[in-house]
């Protein structure tokens, strides 16, 4: 059973298109995230949701819109894709702070290539 699954694994698209990445976790966690890993491998938080509510939005362009229909799902929609959006996008989930096991569990990543 995959704990955090995201689809698709690879996405190649043209500039100006709109695309979505889906994420689902079966761990019962309250908090989900989107991270972006750039070409230099640097990982940075984009968004965080807690029980379907947005709690972190780290200066991400408005073209990126996360949506959480329920606490097990967090999707990422990107409008008007640009070359600079090419990266690997990771979905993750974690239990609340204060728990003994508080590490984040990551999906396998989606490699987005904008051409």
């Amino acid at each position: 059973d995959t704990a955090v699954s995201q689809t698709p694994k690879y996405l190649v698209t043209q500039m100006g298109n709109d695309k979505s990445i889906k994420c689902e976790q079966n761990l019962g966690h309250d908090t989900m995230y989107w991270y972006k890993q750039d070409s230099k491998k640097f990982l940075k938080i984009m968004f965080s949701y807690n029980n379907k509510e947005l709690i972190i939005n780290e200066t991400v362009p408005n073209r990126f819109s996360p949506k959480s229909p329920d606490k097990a799902h967090l999707n990422l929609h990107i409008n008007s894709l640009e070359l600079g959006d090419s990266a690997v996008y990771f979905c993750a989930s974690s239990p609340p702070s204060g728990h003994t096991n508080t590490e984040a569990f990551f999906g396998q990543g989606t490699r987005l290539t904008v051409v």
Partner: protein, 115 residues
């Protein structure tokens, strides 16, 4: 804001030997978590080891151990008896005990294992 610094972009070690990866961080908080994640070529983010800041004892997981120096804000990872499967990017990460539930990552260290 918290920052995490990994000063070694690349490291290499002979198979079966020991290697230490460095990580320093900056925070004004007294309670937090520290993690080491491994990212092999498959791209999957895998938790290697976790340390709670309130615990003085250094965490160990089989061949992996940390040297946690809270006053110095240092959190190094030691890999003993290195194996070919240890080759990967290693990321040090910080998470607050409370408040914003996000991981702040270092820049990563690429570890090569020489047979």
């Amino acid at each position: 804001a918290q920052t995490v610094t990994q000063s070694q972009p690349e490291m290499s070690v002979q198979e079966a030997e020991t290697v230490t990866l460095s990580c320093t961080y900056d925070t004004s908080e007294s309670d937090y978590y520290l993690f080491w994640y491994k990212q092999p070529p498959s791209r999957q983010m895998i938790l290697v080891i976790r340390q709670e800041a309130y615990k003085q004892q250094n965490a160990t997981e089989n061949r992996f151990s940390v040297n946690f120096q809270k006053a110095a804000k240092s959190f190094s990872l030691k890999i003993s008896d290195s194996q070919l499967g240890d080759a990967a990017m290693y990321f040090c990460a910080y998470r607050s005990w409370r408040g914003a539930q996000k991981l702040v990552f270092g820049q990563g260290t690429r570890l090569t294992i020489n047979p």
